[in-house]
Subunit: 407 residues, 4 copies
C-alpha cells in the first residue's frame, strides 16, 4: 500500500501516449497496482494494441470491453428521446459517453477490489467532471486520481521527456499524419479542439474532418432512408430491423457520405470558460431531425411543448456530467413516459449536408387528422364558430387591462 | 347604422378574391361603411391594384401603407433576439406579421372613427386568433367581424358563385399558374398549406417552392457574408450599414440563391389540430444561426441558458398571437436586457442549403479567452487544481445519497 | 329521441335546487331520458335525499356512489406529491374533484348507453371547463349539455319562478340559515364565492366559515400530530395506519379545531377574469407543509428544485382542468418517480392557525448528514479547502466578463 | 509586502471574537496591512465597539458604514418584487445581505488601494460563496483570503487558545448569556444554526428566538396594518410615507410583537449538504404575503404565472450568491418591468403568528372587474356562450387522441 492509502487503481486506458504515461506515473507516484480498462464505444480504433501495451507495462488485470451496443441502447437512444441539444448546437457526443465509462470503471473496481480510479482528462475540461461525478455517484468513497491536476507535466515537451526517461513507446506511426487537434471519438461523434481552432474567427481546414466528406464533395444524388420508430427509438432502417448500435453505424455511414453532421461552435464549459469545438455527428444529426418529425405527428402538443421547455435543462445535466443523478432520472421518467406513442416511420432525404424530412406516417399513433385540418369542406368535423368563444375568452384579460389603461 | 350596430369597419384587404368577396359581403350583411387597409410587409406583390379594386368597389377611405421597415425593425428583429423557433422548426414567419396588421387596423379604426375590424382568416387557423387578440388588446371594445366564421360560403364553388352573382372580378391571370396551395408571404417568409401537403407522407413537389432554388440547383460555389451585430441586431452586411428591412432583403436574396431556408413540418395549431406546412425563410434561417453564433462568443453562459429555457415559451406566445400581452413584453424586457453585449461580426458560409458559421469575433465583447481555454501552457491563467474542489462539492449530494443507498 | 339527437343524458346531480331544475329542464328541452349521478366526495352531506328527489322526479337510473377513498387516494394524494399550489395560495380543492366526477359521469354513460352528460356549472367559471375537458378526453364524442350556457334562467328570480311553475320542491330548511355564498365542498376543502366577497377590500364575516374555528377561538394548547410518510403519501397518523381518506378526515378535524386552513384570495380564472374566493382547507394546509418537510430531509436538492420549477405548471394544469391530459400524466410520472425515497415521519404542531414543523426524521432515507453539516470538528468528512476551487470555477465566467468590462 | 504578494486586505470585521482573531492572523500570516470594514445592515448591534477594537488592534483605516437604507432599498425590496422564497420556505435573509457586503468591500479596496479582501465565513457554508462570487464579479483580480479554509483553528478550543496567546480580548459579557447557536442578523432576519438544531427531529427551545414572541405569548387582539404599494414596493404604512428601511423596521416591530415570521427548516446548501436552520423574518413574512395580494389584484394572469415559474430560479440565484451576475440582472429586468402596475393598498391582519390578508384595493390598477365576475346578472359583460367554443377548441387535441386510442 502506498503512502496515499491507494492500493489498486482502475485506469481508463486508451493505449495512447498520455494514458501510457499515466500508467507509469501511477505506479511510481502511488506505488499501487494498476488495472487497465479499455472500451470499444465505437471510436473506430483497434483495442488489441492497448492490451499488448498494458501487458508490456506489466499490468496483470486488463479489461477490454465492447460497449458499443450498451452505449447506443442505454445512453445515446434515451438521450435522443429528449431531443437533447446543448446551447442550440451541440449534440453531446462526448458528454454521453463519459457516464458509461464511469460506470464500467466502478464495476471493475468492485470486481477487482480496487479502491481508486484514474483517467486522462485534463483539469480544464468537462470530462474530468463527468468521469468523477459518475464515479462518486456509483461508489461514493472511491479515490479519484486525476494526474493532469496533480503532476507538473503540463507541456508536450515535458510529457515526451517523461516518456523517454521511462521507456514508454511513442507510437508515431499509429495515427499516420499526427493531428494537431485534441480529438475524441465514439459511436456518436468525433470532436476536435485546440490548435487553430483556438481562434474563433478561423474557419477549420478541410483536412481536419475525418468522418464526413464536405457538402461540396458529397454525391450529386440524394440518399433516402426510412426510419421506423418504436417508443421513440429507431428499430429498423428501410424496413430492416437493427439494434441501436447497428442503427448508428448505418446512419453514420450514409450521413458521412452525404456530408452530414459537421458543426463548429463556441460552447460554454461547465468549468467556466468558453471553448471552441468542431464536431462530426452524422447519425445524431439525422436522428434528431427524424425524431422531431415522428414526434410532430404522434405526440400531443402540450406534451411536446413540455419536453421542449425541459430540454435545455436535460441537455445541461448531461453536458455537466450528471447522468447518474436523481434529476436526470426524474426527467428521463417523464420523457420515456411520453414516448409510448412515438411510433411510425420517417422518410429522410440526405443531400450534400442537408437533412430533409421527406415524409412521416404512423399507422397506430398519428394525431394528424386531415378531416379536421383540411382547407376543403370538413363535413362538420370542426365548427368554425367555436373559434369566436375561444378567442373571446382568451382575450378577456387583455381587454380588461386595455380598458383600464384607457380609462 | 346596421342592425348589428356596426357603423364602419376596417378590412384587412389584399385585393385578392377572398377579401374582395368579404368587402362586398360586409356591405351587404352589415350595411356599413368599409375602410380598406392594404399593407406592404414585403410579400412581393404590387399594392396599387388593390387600390384600384377598392375604388371600383366604392370604398371611400383606402389605406395603403408600406410597413416593411417597421415590420423588420420592431417585430422580426426583436423576435430574433430571442432565437425564437416554434416546436424546434418553425421560424414564426406568419405569426410575427399579424400583430403589426392588428396594430395598424386599430390605428386606422381610431383615425376613421370605425367601430369594427374585419379580416379574411378562416375559423380553423391561428391567424384569426392573432388578429383578434391584437385588436382586442389595443382597442378592447372593437367589434370583430370574421366572415369565415359567419357565412356559409365554405367551399370554393360557393365563393365563386357569390363572386359571379355580385360582379366581383376574378383575376385568374394575376398569379399566372394558379397555385393549389394556401399561401402567405411577407419579408420573413412564404408559407404553403393544403392540397397534397394534407398528406404528411407526401414530399412537396419541387415547383411549389417560390423563393429558393433547391439545394441541387444552387451554385457550386459557396457565398460568404459577414454580418455585423449591434445589441443583438444585424446593422451591416459585408461592412455596409443597412436598415433592418434592407438586411432581410439582402439575406433573402443570397439565401434563396443558395437554396437556404426550406422547411417542411407538421405543427400544432393553437386552435387544437395538427397541420402540415411548408415554409421558405431564407433570411431568417441565416439570422437564427448567425445570432446564436455571435451570442456564443459574447453572452454569459447562464444568461444564454436562461434565454434557451425561456425561448419555447416566447415562441409559443408569438405563435399563439399574444404579441400585445404583458407576458411577451416582460420576456422581451429580459431578452433585450441581455443583448447589450451582443456586438461583433459573424462570417457565414452559404452553400446548397447549408448555413455554416465560418467565423465569429467581437472586438468589444468577446468572452472567449484563449489564454484560459488553451491546451497549451496557460501561464497560470487557470489553476487546474481548482477543479478538484469544484467536482468534490458538486458531487457531495450524490455521494451522500449513494452511501445511504449502500447502507 | 329528441330533435337534438340526444337520447339519454347522465346528470351530475346534487339534489339541490339548481340541479333539480336542470333535471326537469333537460327532460323538457331535450326530451330525453335522464340518469342521475350523485357522489359522496366528502362534502359532508347526506346523499339519500338526492335519491328520493330523483325518484320523485321520475328518474329510473339513479347512481349514488361513495368516491371519498378514490378521491383521496387517486386524486388528492398524487397532487400533494407535487406540492401543488396555484398562484402561491390556492390548494386546488375544487379543481381536483372535477376530473373524478367527469370520469364517473363517463363510466355511467358507458354503462347506461347514454350519449350525453350534463352538469350545473355556470358559463363563467372554471368548473365547466374541468368537467367538459375530462368528459371529452375520456369519451371524445360525448354530447355535453351545459344548461347555464343555454337557458335564460340567469337570475335567482327566474330560477325560482321556473321551480314553482314546474313543481320543483324548494328545500329552504335543508341548509338551515341560507348562505348568501356560492359554496363547494369536498374532502379537501370548502369554498365561498359571491355576495360581499365580490368586493376584494371587504374582509369576510366570521360566520361565513364553516369548517374551521377562527384562530382566536382555537384552543390555547397546541395539538401535535406525527405523520408517517411512505413514497410521499401519509400512511399513518400518530402511528396508526390510515387510508388516504381517513388521513384527510383526521387532519380536517384537528386542523379545523385549531383554526387552520383559511385562505382568502383573488385568483385568475382560466376563462379570463379575476375572482375572489375564500377557502377552508385544514387537512391540505397541514399536508402541504408536512410534505415539504419530509422532502426537505429525503429528497435530493436538484430533484427538489426541479419539482419546484415545474410545480406552477402542474398546478395550472390541474386548475385549468387538464387532469386527463398527456402533459399532466407526464409530469406525474416525473413526480412519482421522485417520491420513492420520500419516507419518514414529520411531527407537526398545530396552534391557533399556525402549522409548525416540530421535527422530521427518516430511518431509511435521510440525506441529512450531521457529521458533514456540523459546526464542530467533522473529522475530515468535508474538506473546507475544496470550497476554494468550487468558488473559483463558479466565478470564472464572472471574472472574465468583469475584466472585459474594465478593459 | 508579504510572501503571498498581498499588500493590503479589507476585512469584513464585526468586532466579535472570530473576526478579531482573523485580524490578528492576517497580519501574522500575510504580513500585510489590514483595513477593517464594519457595516450596519440592521443587525441591531452597536458598531462603535468595533471601531475601538480595531483601533486597539492597530488598524489605521477603519470603515464603519450605515448601509441599512441601501440594503432595504436596493437589495431586499427588489428581491421581494420577485416573491422570492427558497425551497418553499426560506426568505433568503442571509443571502441577500452578502452581495452588499461584497460590493462595499470592493469599493473600499478600490479606495484604499487594497489588493485583497477577507471574511470570517467558514468553508462549509454558503456565505463564503456569496462574498467571493460578488467580490470576483466586481473586481476580478482581487485576492480573497478565507482564513477558515486556510488555518487549522478548527475547534473552539484552538480559537480560544489563539486569542489568549495573542492578547485578543474575549468579550464574554457582550452577548449576555452566550448563545449556543451560530447566528446572523440583519434588517431582514436573524438566523440560528448549530447545537441542538443539528438534530432535525429536535424542536427548537423557546428561548432561542430573539426577535419574535411566540404565537402563544402574542397579544389576544389582532393588529391591522395598511400597506401602500407603488411599483411593487411598500411606500407607506397606515398612510404614512416611509423609506424602505423604515418600512422594514416598522413591520419587524409589529410582526415580532404578533409572533410572526418564525421558520424552522432543513435546506440544501449550495456547497452540497443539507443543513438545519431556524429563522425569524417578521417583516419579510408580512411583505411576501402582502405583495402577492396586491399582485393578485393588479398583475395580469400570465405575467404572474411567468413570475411564478421563474421564481425558484431567481431564489436559487440569490441563495447561491449570484446577485452580481448577468442572469440575476436579466431576471430582475423582467420582474421590474412587471411591477409598473403593482400599485394599491393591502390591509393585513396580524394575529398570533398568522398573517392574514384582510383586503386589497387599487384605484388605478385593479384588474378585478366585479361586473364580469359577479354571480348576479352581468348585463352582458360576459357572454357565457363563449365558453362553449373555448372548451371545444381546448379539448380538440384531447378528443383526437382519445378517438385514436379507442380505434
Amino acid at each position: 500500500m502506498s503512502a496515499s492509502g491507494v492500493k489498486k487503481v482502475v485506469l481508463a486506458y486508451s493505449g495512447g501516449l498520455d494514458t501510457s504515461i499515466i500508467l507509469k506515473w501511477l505506479k511510481e507516484e502511488y506505488d499501487c497496482e494498476v488495472v487497465t480498462f479499455t472500451a470499444d464505444i465505437g471510436q473506430g480504433e483497434e483495442l488489441e494494441p492497448a492490451r499488448a501495451k498494458a501487458e508490456a507495462a506489466g499490468v496483470k488485470e486488463i479489461y477490454i470491453d465492447d460497449l458499443t451496443e450498451e452505449f447506443a441502447r442505454d445512453f445515446v437512444f434515451p438521450m435522443f428521446r429528449a431531443n437533447a441539444i446543448y446551447e442550440g448546437e451541440y449534440l453531446l457526443g462526448t458528454s454521453i459517453a463519459r457516464p458509461l465509462i464511469a460506470k464500467r470503471l466502478i464495476e471493475i473496481a468492485n470486481e477487482t477490489g480496487a479502491d481508486a480510479i484514474s483517467h486522462g482528462a485534463t483539469g480544464k475540461g468537462n470530462d474530468q467532471v463527468r468521469f468523477e461525478l459518475g464515479a462518486y455517484a456509483l461508489k461514493p468513497d472511491v479515490h479519484v486520481i486525476a494526474p493532469w491536476r496533480e503532476w507538473d507535466l503540463l507541456s508536450r515537451e515535458k510529457l515526451m521527456k517523461y516518456a523517454e526517461d521511462h521507456g514508454i513507446q511513442i507510437d508515431y506511426v499509429k495515427q499516420g499524419k499526427k493531428s494537431p487537434y485534441s480529438m475524441d471519438a465514439n459511436l456518436l461523434h468525433i470532436s476536435y479542439e485546440g490548435d487553430i481552432l483556438e481562434d474563433p474567427w478561423a474557419e477549420p481546414e478541410e483536412d481536419m474532418w475525418r468522418w464526413t466528406v464536405s457538402p461540396e464533395q458529397a454525391p450529386n444524388e440524394p440518399t433516402y432512408v426510412e426510419l421506423t420508430y418504436a417508443k421513440g427509438d429507431i428499430v429498423a432502417i428501410d424496413g430492416k430491423p437493427m439494434s441501436a448500435a447497428e442503427v448508428m453505424v448505418h446512419l453514420n455511414k450514409v450521413g458521412g457520405e452525404n456530408g452530414i453532421g459537421r458543426d463548429d461552435i463556441v460552447e460554454n464549459r461547465y468549468v467556466g470558460m468558453k471553448s471552441r469545438g468542431c464536431y462530426e455527428t452524422p447519425a445524431g444529426t439525422i436522428m434528431l431531425k427524424a425524431h422531431r418529425a415522428i414526434e410532430s405527428l404522434t405526440l400531443d402538443r402540450e406534451a411536446a411543448h413540455l419536453k421542449d421547455e425541459l430540454m435545455p435543462k436535460y441537455a445541461s445535466i448531461v453536458y455537466n456530467g450528471y447522468w447518474w443523478s436523481p434529476e436526470r432520472e426524474a426527467l428521463q421518467a417523464l420523457i420515456d413516459h411520453t414516448q409510448q406513442v412515438v411510433n411510425g416511420v420517417v422518410r429522410m432525404k440526405l443531400y450534400k449536408g442537408n437533412v430533409i424530412v421527406a415524409g412521416r406516417k404512423s399507422d397506430t399513433n398519428s394525431l394528424f387528422d386531415a378531416s379536421i385540418a383540411t382547407f376543403e369542406d370538413d363535413a362538420g368535423a370542426y365548427d368554425q364558430k367555436d373559434a369566436s368563444g375561444f378567442i373571446k375568452l382568451n382575450a378577456l384579460r387583455l381587454r380588461v387591462a386595455s380598458r383600464l389603461k384607457k380609462s
